[in-house]
Symmetry: C3
Subunit: 360 residues, 3 copies
């Protein structure tokens, strides 16, 4: 009834280049890096069930076939061929790819080629700052190089992304930190810092976000499982500056993210990974995001990483949930069909094209 156009995935990472055994595959499925509890498996999750439902048929197997059979078929095809089959059947025609740290993941052009799709780069701010710190000897040099690096990234990338999220509370401080505080924080951080050490200082994270805001590029903020209302002050302080904020993830606080998107003109909310993780329950989560967010403020992403299965599952679950929710509202008479089609196109692709300045 509602026909969703091909998707713009406004946040994902590349896919793994290496073959995976059952155990490694399962670890990637879990997403936490840790092992499952004794007596349990990460295949017994909504994501695990969704992979068996959506991906097995794409590799020529029946839906819901056992994990071992799926992995055997995947190895038979090889990582390259199975990745191509999966990505090309995902329904995603444009990927925005967070490129760092690369690890063993495909690059932007490799991802585009594997998926026969367009792909654009997203630059990760924390990684950029860590790389600058690795090569800057003094506080002054670091600050100058950092500003140059962020502005340079903004020239080439479609978006900047901050993964520190809400973990370091003060980093959500409304106002930009003063120059004295920033210099002191840089000094502390550089002093005796081993190369590659992660950036977790809240003052520096806040400074980094404010440089990003100054570039005018959309700034993605990973809110993770935290309450995005903690960003209300930062949203108020950045309103009217011409830079959009895009809240990533946000489940179980997706309603709060949607509310923030309704309260500030420059705040947008993501509806992908929350759905991918909730699988059969995704329609409810999507309907909740659609309660308060203006329809021009929600953007699909897969939030996928590593397994091409995660790109497929993110896209398929989103599309099915969207068509289901909007189709019900049309059937109930709450919406007319033309509106439903239009909104589906906005959330699936149009909003992302407008916000990130992609060609339509």
């Amino acid at each position: 009834m509602i026909d969703t156009p091909s998707l713009v995935d406004h946040y994902c990472r590349g896919v793994l280049r290496t073959e995976l055994g059952l155990g490694t595959f399962e670890a990637h499925l879990g997403g936490t890096g840790g092992a499952p509890a004794p007596g349990t498996t990460f295949f017994d999750t909504q994501t695990g069930f969704a992979v068996r439902r959506w991906c097995a048929p794409l590799l020529g197997l029946e839906a819901h076939c056992p994990p071992a059979r799926y992995l055997a078929r995947r190895r038979e095809l090889g990582v390259l061929e199975s990745g191509r089959r999966l990505l090309r059947a995902s329904g995603i025609s444009t990927y925005l790819v967070d490129t760092g740290p690369p690890g063993d993941l495909t690059s932007v052009p490799e991802t585009a080629a594997a998926g026969m799709a367009d792909a654009h780069e997203i630059v990760r701010l924390e990684l950029l700052a860590e790389q600058v710190a690795d090569t800057s000897g003094t506080v002054g040099a670091f600050l100058a190089n950092l500003a140059e690096a962020v502005h340079g990234a903004a020239d080439s990338a479609v978006a900047l992304t901050s993964v520190a999220g809400l973990r370091h509370h003060a980093s959500a401080a409304p106002e930009a930190p003063g120059p004295g505080g920033v210099r002191a924080a840089v000094g502390r951080w550089l002093d005796g810092r081993p190369p590659g050490a992660r950036l977790t200082d809240p003052v520096l994270l806040s400074h980094l976000r404010w440089i990003a805001v100054a570039t005018g590029r959309p700034l993605q903020i990973h809110v993770g499982a935290g309450d995005p209302l903690a960003l209300s002050g930062f949203a108020a302080a950045t309103e009217g500056l011409g830079t959009d904020l895009v809240l990533l993830h946000g489940c179980p606080y997706h309603r709060h993210a949607a509310y923030l998107a309704s309260a500030f003109p420059h705040v947008y909310a993501d509806v992908g990974p929350a759905l991918a993780r909730t699988g059969a329950g995704a329609a409810s989560v999507l309907a909740e995001a659609l309660e308060r967010a203006p329809f021009g403020k929600l953007l699909f992403s897969s939030g996928a990483r590593g397994l091409p299965e995660s790109h497929v599952v993110g896209a398929r679950i989103f599309r099915e949930a969207l068509e289901g929710v909007l189709g019900n509202w049309v059937r109930d008479g709450a919406w007319c069909r033309a509106d439903a089609r239009r909104v589906a196109g906005m959330v699936a692709a149009g909003n992302a094209r407008r916000v990130y300045g992609l060609a339509g």
Copy 2:
């Protein structure tokens, strides 16, 4: 299957007396006072779609007609006639109207006349305190006049309402502030205060609520988008004093408001504006409020302001959601039909009549 009686709207404001163009109408629809994001419109929201669904037919147009056609028809009828047609078809027979600040909104009797309904006054505490401050020269005079004004308001109004909500955290303090602290806060506030300046001091806001509690009139507290569990201490401190607390709004924390209404005998929760804002998704929100709140503790309101469309949308969405949710429960055998009808009557009107002492 379930037939809801005519509604008591236990919190709304009047309607605008002036003609509205497409832009002004859209700004009122957005509700935030600001402009929509570039490339978006407030018509592309659940509220915007609900106006086109419910109100267009009341002005002789087909449901879901384009916004421009709706506005043209509205201007053709004139603000007075379109307001009358809308309010009289809302299904609301009693309005409790928050009267301040009036701006360009209809008064209580004007609202009653336009809607051919009963209407009663709700007095806004913060405005009352600001008016008293405008005319009181000393701390002592202010405190005496304030107490007199609040008690006077309680004699004539059906409820007192506090809009400061949870924005000023200390105002949700459990205990009444001591006289010394109150006098000091009044002194600071009056000192050099320009006439009309808003009350935001948490000590004074807390003092104001405690005077209100002393009157015995129901006290409405606007919780907005904050977590009403922040009011647990205040609820515990006011239990058994004979004054009811009614939590207004509360989405996305409506489940928490419902929980608080289950935990304290004198706490009630509102189910209107959360539904009006979530439109096609309202049935889920209402079902969530009905999970934990005792059925004698939920009250309908439209939360409407300015546009008579907001009164209509609030009432129609509520009624449809209520009949849908309870109807499903009856169909599933979870409830019997007689209970469903009784509960519909309670939430729609009976609870408000009892809490506010309105004639049945």
Copy 3:
């Protein structure tokens, strides 16, 4: 379509031995200990409606019959016979019973006999500490006796339970308190303590939990209406120690509890009482818990106490919600039937058998 096996109720209390009048019955139904608001009754709640739906037929009455008729029939049968009829029709074959404080509730073997079921003891940590304090003269004696009592309880009981929950914030501190701080807290608590006085000191509560963790027995934590994410630090600190944490209750934060169960291999979440309290709305709440939690991490409980009706209602609502939710997912093609049956068995009984080491 989905057939749930007989249930393991992994947390409940015993049933009352005394006859109840309408008023006492209603007070137990309310659960808060207080009276209902004027003009309302605790029968007008989801729990009240669920008792009339599920329990009336078990006593030979029609579903949804008036409360007075139900109570009359209950008295006619007598407390013993009605309790037996109810418990034996609940579908629960194993009860894990929190035994303290006993009040007028049936013991573990009495509960087993009344329900013709298996029953095992859960020991309540706070009560144990209070009993040790009643009989220990010095700080050193208290600490030695406490450790011995907790380890002794762990030998005989299937689980330890901490009811203090999140009420005393510091008790959710990530790290174990140091010996000096513990000794000082014990000293303050024992000093002038009247026999039977409740334990509320956050340092002692934290110490108590850490002794419990050292036993290796599953530790149940009552999160009540608080946000279980407050336990993230404690969960991180106890990961890998070999002791499971089971979060009890958790509505309206059940999604957060499910998220925590997905983030830590040793954290489990409870899905019973949230459903019992939300009655006709239970399917939505259960579906939300099933969004994020790995299916091996959710455990049924009734959370029942006092009224055997609460055991019945907890079990029947759970079973109906589970079969409804999973059945829908199978109908939609999101899950296959074999998976749904397997997951139903895990949540209903299998997970509890594995976590608590019960014979299958």
